[in-house]
Symmetry: none
Subunit: 189 residues, 4 copies
DNA sequence: GCCTAACCGAGACGGTACGTCGTGTCTTAAT
DNA sequence: ATTAAGACACGACGTACCGTCTCGGTTAGGC
């Protein structure tokens, strides 16, 4: 019963190489072979620990993301939502981060298992944090009691995804603020 | 300047075969070779008229969709939005249609040109119709004057995309209605 | 019912490359991949027409051998046998030819089907020719009537194979002559 | 200078596993990995003591063969040769023994060093014994004085190798006797 | 009877080649 | 000129073994 004696050096080299190649060539042209070559690693080593390039990119993302950005609670719901929505918009606007998000999105669209993993490990926590902040807002009377919090969260993030996915307009800070304001209108008592 | 002597029988066979295989195997495992074989057609015939499997699926979608669903205007903005949002939710909930949407989405995430085509030819018209209906709502005082119509459209469709993409909850008629109600709250004067 | 439209240029390039690489690297280090690369050909093209490197080498051999060396019949059995045995010994002594023979031998030792092909298409005809000459020798009284011709043929060729296989001595013209003389002693009336 | 503390249990397990796998899968599909797994042994242990699968099979053969069957000398040369040639034919006809012989032959065809080892340690002694018996036969007048003993040995064994290698006929006791008779004709004074 | 080296099993590692699949281009023969 | 058919060069797939390299865990001498 020995722990799987995994080579950490190889693991890091693989994740780094994967992200580099992703920005260089785009996800569809990213190959396991190229990752292995760039990382100075045998293909088998990749297949031993990951199910494919999608899983590698996912782990690279998880690895490069701060553990869990907690949402601020300054007492001002609108201001706090602005902070998080601005950050999200900025993330989607950044070509580097957007590339990995695009990659993961492609993969989740065809890999059910990976989709669940991404949803549960990456996205749900973030959305749950916003939900918590909204609930706190209800307690302080800054948000209506009757609203469906899940739906409200979608009202905040959905438009960003929509615009990003359809390349249907600029993703700027002003856009973030406008979005928050409109959503606040919907949920303010 | 002769018109391209294109074989309509082959074209139909290709589009049909493509949609069949898409639902059978999923987009990533869909191959031009298989489409050609199923359609009883040479590969060259596909490559002569389309840029790849993405373009084939796109044409199949366009072909199978009613030319341009015009939005109803019953005078009741909320009711009209319910109609269109319910329809959209139903479309995303339907496995058959969802499969082609998923395929196109994958392809647009990596093919900029195709993305524009999809956006301008398929989606913009539909969104523009909703925008028009909202403008008409402003005229009748059912929607505030100050709102950004583009953003409002995103507020309506964004959450659906978000939920669909992240498989983050059920896509039901009740969901559609709730969504419309929340959005209406944001834009009612 | 079209003939298999096979590219003769590719075929020649493959056979040539295979023989070159065989002498350069030896049979065990010969790879289909290397043959394809040297020939400027896709691996698939090799696998389409041959079962593996063994079959390629076999065809290369058959291709490079004169269709069917007929045995001379000068009336002098001993002299005629000398001619053919000297030629055989020379063939085994020649490094170039020996390399391909060695390759084929390796392959036939593990591939039953190939072994039959080699035996029936390459060796049997040659041995049959010698057998015929021996039969003619019987008619002219230069060989005993009672002898088993198959065995006699083996008596002539077996020692050469034995010496070659075991690297158990030099393969010279003198050896060939001595061998013929000893065999003649066994079969002369 | 301590003796290498070699695990005899492992050694036996490896040789046994190698022979088993050899008959099960044939030499080309025999792998060091499989031998190690079957023997319950680390790969390293095999590579520590042998140069590769060829060397393992060779040692297995040497291990399973009686040290050195001396040739009988009953005074009757023909009878004694019959004994040894019959035994050799039987060995080549036996599928079990033939498999290991085939394996070793394949390996020697590409490994010069191994070839020498096999020739000098396994075959030469046997052939030398026959040569000695022939020399004794010369002394008793049962064989001519002028003959080349090396060649005569090849005359006896070569045909067997030839027939075995080319799968060119049955290897029976009758064949052995016929062969001895023909060879005796060549060397009897 | 302990200590410490060598040896052991296990199996991860960087590689190389495998044989297959799909790509997009090409050639051929037949409408 | 377009078509069905399919060969072609190419490149990646995911797998199998290669021979080397750690890892602990025995195990057998020499003290």
């Amino acid at each position: 019963m020995t722990a799987p004696r995994r080579n950490e050096r190889s693991r890091r080299a693989i994740l780094t190489a994967a992200l580099e190649l992703l920005t260089e060539t785009g996800y569809p042209d990213l190959t396991v072979e190229a990752i292995a070559a760039r990382a100075g690693v045998g293909k088998q080593t990749i297949y031993r620990w990951w199910r494919g390039k999608g899983a590698v990119i996912l782990e690279a993302m998880v690895d490069s993301v701060p553990p869990n950005a907690v949402l601020p609670d300054t007492g001002d719901l609108r201001a706090d939502l602005r902070t998080v929505i601005r950050a999200t918009v900025a993330e989607f606007a950044d070509p580097r981060l957007s590339a990995t998000t695009r990659a993961i999105t492609i993969e989740t669209l065809s890999d059910e298992a990976l989709a669940e993993q991404v949803r549960d490990q990456l996205l749900r926590p973030q959305l749950a944090a916003v939900k918590d902040r909204l609930r706190a807002g209800q307690a302080t009377g800054q948000a209506r009691d009757g609203i469906d919090l899940d739906l409200t969260v979608e009202l905040l993030f959905g438009p960003i995804y929509h615009r990003w996915l359809l390349r249907n307009g600029p993703l700027t800070e002003g856009y973030a603020d406008e979005l928050v304001d409109l959503a606040m209108t919907a949920i303010t008592p």
